[in-house]
């Protein structure tokens, strides 16, 4: 007996731990949202390209588009252009779109639209980058100035990160004569970045210019320049103006390198304006869309991988254990008597079709009429099977009549009756009438009310949308339920109703 108890305890612990672990993995590692209401941002970015085409030459427009290999995933990408050929090519980690046309004239407008969202999966892809490069050649006073700046930077830094940070800080000190000389009067970010690049190249520290877009709705903007350096494991991002390290979360990497965003052959006055807005989307639906657009398929082996029709069935099915749990608690902990063991769960499922209030009325009416028929049949002394058949047929006729009446009265609700499982009703009537005969009317009423109560409670719990979503998304929760049910299997405390039943003992003790 003791070993059995230990066995059971181990089993319960394993099941509960497994359930908790799988659910936790889904929530924290896969990032599946805990509630259905949880939404994710969906960004809609439009880049509008305008230029004036010269009528003589063929037009070729090249523009960088985001490479999308880091934290974002593209859901949809489109190039809107009349009469232009479109091609996309990758080079040096950048993506470039080329619009080309043999003949065009006047003002031209091209659109690039991108819908993207944050990548769900947090798994890191292996990043590669350069860790060494050759120095840029500098001559004359610039060389002296650069070397003068380098000395204190070397002293004040320990590794690539601090070295780059220190360099940016020095270059932004505009009162320094050496800096003034190198900047040659131009204090734009671009020029600063060039100087930083030069200084770092002397120290053989690699540096890349990164052009980013900020994901902020409804504000016009131009690409913002950041610098990045590879430290062997990861890219370190720096703001060339402030030396601030780390790319904020809302920045989208558009392209890297020294080239301009756009280059136009056979046209002039090219300009690109960005506009973006965000919308929210149900997190699970978004995750599914993401799945289709990436190789990561973490939803593949969940119930969401099933066809939609099957999914809906499963949404009901996964809730049945919850209903069963309700019955278990009501019967073994509270001590409410119900007809049969799982009849209340079946009735609760039937309530799905009819709604609770209407279902209870319907159940009561049909059962009451069925019971009176049953008691009439009792006088005829029929055998069990023929009697049950008669009751079942009567129930069908009754349901048909109710449907017809309510339809004529304009109550569409009545039609849902047709799906109210008739066999369940018939068996309920039969069992109830046997209980009535054996234990008397009072007891039968008690059992009937207990059954209805259990069914209503089970129905209410089984249809809580949050619970349905949670159990459907994290089916491992059912393992935890099984653990609880196993524990209940050896529960030996009193039932709540027994406290009332054995009250006689207490009066004794008081007297």
């Amino acid at each position: 007996m003791r070993s059995l108890t230990l066995h059971l305890k181990v089993l319960i612990t394993v099941l509960v731990l497994l359930g908790v672990a799988i659910t936790a993995y889904q929530i924290f590692a896969l990032g599946i949202p805990v509630t259905e209401d949880e939404t994710d941002d969906l960004w809609n970015i439009d880049a509008k390209v305008e230029f004036v085409a010269s009528s003589k030459d063929p037009v070729k427009v090249q523009m960088f588009v985001p490479p999308l290999n880091r934290d974002y995933v593209s859901l949809n990408e489109s190039f809107i252009s009349n009469n232009y050929g479109v091609s996309i090519n990758r080079a040096d980690g950048n993506r470039k779109v080329t619009w080309s046309a043999r003949r065009a004239s006047g003002n031209q407008t091209l659109y690039y639209r991108l819908v993207l969202t944050k990548r769900y999966s947090t798994e890191k892809t292996k990043i590669k980058g350069p860790t060494f490069r050759d120095s840029q050649a500098v001559e004359g006073p610039e060389k002296i100035a650069a070397e003068a700046l380098m000395a204190p930077i070397r002293q004040h830094s320990a590794d690539v990160e601090t070295f780059v940070g220190e360099t940016i800080k020095r270059v932004n000190n505009l009162n320094d004569d050496n800096v003034k000389l190198l900047l040659a009067g131009d204090t734009s970010s671009m020029k600063k970045a060039q100087v930083i690049d030069l200084l770092l190249s002397i120290a053989h520290v690699p540096l890349e210019k990164v052009h980013t877009i900020r994901l902020v709705a409804d504000t016009p903007q131009t690409p913002e320049l950041w610098l990045r350096s590879f430290n062997g494991n990861d890219w370190l991002y720096f703001n060339p103006d402030t030396g601030e390290q780390g790319l904020p979360n809302d920045r989208l990497l558009w392209w890297t390198g020294d080239d301009n965003l756009i280059s136009v052959d056979g046209g002039k006055k090219a300009s690109v304006t960005f506009s973006m807005n965000n919308s929210e989307m149900n997190a699970i639906r978004l995750a599914k869309l993401t799945d289709e657009n990436t190789d990561a398929d973490f939803l593949e082996y969940s119930l969401y991988g099933l066809p939609l029709q099957t999914q809906q069935t499963f949404m009901i099915m996964v809730m049945i254990p919850i209903g069963v749990l309700v019955i278990l608690v009501l019967r073994n902990l509270i001590g409410i008597q119900t007809l049969g063991t799982f009849t209340p769960v079946l009735i609760a499922l039937a309530f799905r079709e009819t709604q609770l209030g209407f279902g209870i009325v319907l159940f009561t009416v049909i059962t009451a009429l069925g019971l009176s028929l049953r008691s009439y049949l009792e006088h005829l002394k029929l055998q069990m099977l023929p009697r049950l058949s008669v009751v079942l047929t009567f129930v069908v006729v009754l349901i048909a009549a109710i449907s017809l009446f309510s339809h004529k009265l304009g109550l569409e609700r009545g039609l849902s009756v047709a799906l109210f499982p008739m066999v369940i009703l018939t068996m309920t009537i039969e069992r109830l009438s046997i209980t009535w005969e054996e234990r008397g009317g009072g007891h039968a009423m008690k059992v009937a009310i207990g059954t209805l109560f259990a069914a209503s409670l089970a129905h209410l719990l089984m249809t809580v949308p949050e619970a349905v979503y949670f159990v459907f998304t994290f089916p491992a929760v059912l393992l935890i339920l099984v653990g609880f049910m196993l524990a209940m299997g050896r529960y030996r405390g009193y039932r709540l109703t027994e406290l009332v039943r054995f009250k006689a003992f207490l009066k004794k003790a008081d007297a």
């Binding site: 069990m384 405390g493 027994e498 054995f502």
Partner: protein, 326 residues
């Protein structure tokens, strides 16, 4: 809420057994599933009892098929009183007790006159499984009608009072006399309104009783006191009950017995899930007593001994007998 916890604690302290504990610690632990048919089918119980030399009401015949209903007359023979029972009935349902017979009509024990056809219909209902557990096909059993001993005349209303003893591994742990009332319709089942009266295991003297979960000391129909009655042949009942362990192999059973005017103590049926109201009748919790027996068995196992029915009765009477009346 607080009151409930207090009630819980008080019941626990008195060793009152709840359904969950009975099922988990006794029924599931001591009663092997494959032995259930022995107690669920009264015909098998009877055959086993006869083979073991235990007294049961004489069986006149068994009807298994509709065809055999024709043999009813043959089975009854010239007898004027008999009982028809479903072999797998529960809670005393479907039992027909015929007290007298004249021409081709029968009179039931409650005075109702019924025809031969009605009896045949009743048997047919039994065969289709109307009264059996789970509605399976059943067999009908025709047997000797017990005439209760005169001692019960004053404290019972119609029907046959019976004695229920709960037996754990062959040790009687608690006993109760069940008296039919007007409300129970002559049946001796407590949930149908019969009275349960506790019995002192050592002496066979009745204690106070329970009726509908309340404690009483008078019969509601006859208003005679139910306590202080000496049951005759008490040691015979105790031995009979203790023997049932060997008979069926189930470790936790309720043994239902009657005291026949002529034949003495007889076993009526065995129950693998005896009810808990016996505790109210005896004003005593079952858990204390079962724990004492379990401790005793453990001690015997350590010493490598085992006891026969007679010794077990002595042990139980020594442990639980001579209750001080309240």
């Amino acid at each position: 809420m607080f009151g409930l916890i207090k009630t819980w604690k008080a019941l626990e302290a008195r060793g009152i057994m709840g359904i969950n504990r009975r099922n988990a610690d006794y029924v599931l632990k001591y009663n092997k599933r494959n032995l259930y048919p022995i107690v669920d089918d009264k015909i098998i119980t009877k055959e086993r009892a006869l083979a073991a030399g235990i007294h049961v009401p004489e069986m006149y015949g068994v009807i298994e098929t509709e065809k055999q209903i024709d043999k009813l007359d043959e089975i009854i023979g010239g007898r004027s009183d008999f009982v028809i029972k479903p072999a797998q009935g529960a809670g005393g349902d479907g039992i027909l007790v015929i007290a007298d017979r004249f021409e081709d009509r029968y009179r039931t024990v409650s005075g109702k006159i019924i025809s031969h056809e009605e009896i045949e219909h009743q048997i047919s209902s039994i065969l289709t499984g109307l009264y059996s557990l789970g509605g399976h096909r059943d067999r009908a059993l025709i047997e000797y009608r017990v005439t209760p001993d005169q001692i019960f005349k004053s404290i019972s209303y119609e029907g046959v009072p019976d004695i229920r003893i709960i037996v754990l591994m062959g040790y009687p742990v608690m006993a109760m006399l069940r008296l039919p009332t007007r409300q129970s319709g002559g049946k001796a089942n407590l949930h149908q309104g019969a009275i349960g009266v506790g019995v002192d295991l050592a002496t066979g003297v009745t204690l106070r009783g329970t009726w509908l979960n309340k404690i009483i000391s008078k019969h509601p129909d006859t208003t005679n006191a139910v306590d202080g009655v000496q049951l005759p042949n008490w040691d015979g009942f105790m031995k009979l009950a203790a023997n049932c362990y060997e008979l069926c192999g189930l470790g936790y059973i309720g043994v239902d017995m009657v005291l026949d005017q002529d034949k003495g103590p007889l076993i009526l049926e065995l129950n693998a899930r005896p009810g808990l109201n016996i505790q109210i009748a005896n004003d005593c919790g079952l858990t204390q007593r079962t724990h004492a027996i379990e401790a005793h068995i453990e001690m015997l196992a350590k010493e490598g001994r085992s006891e026969d029915a007679e010794q077990r009765v002595k042990v139980a009477q020594g442990l639980f007998g001579h209750v001080v009346p309240h």
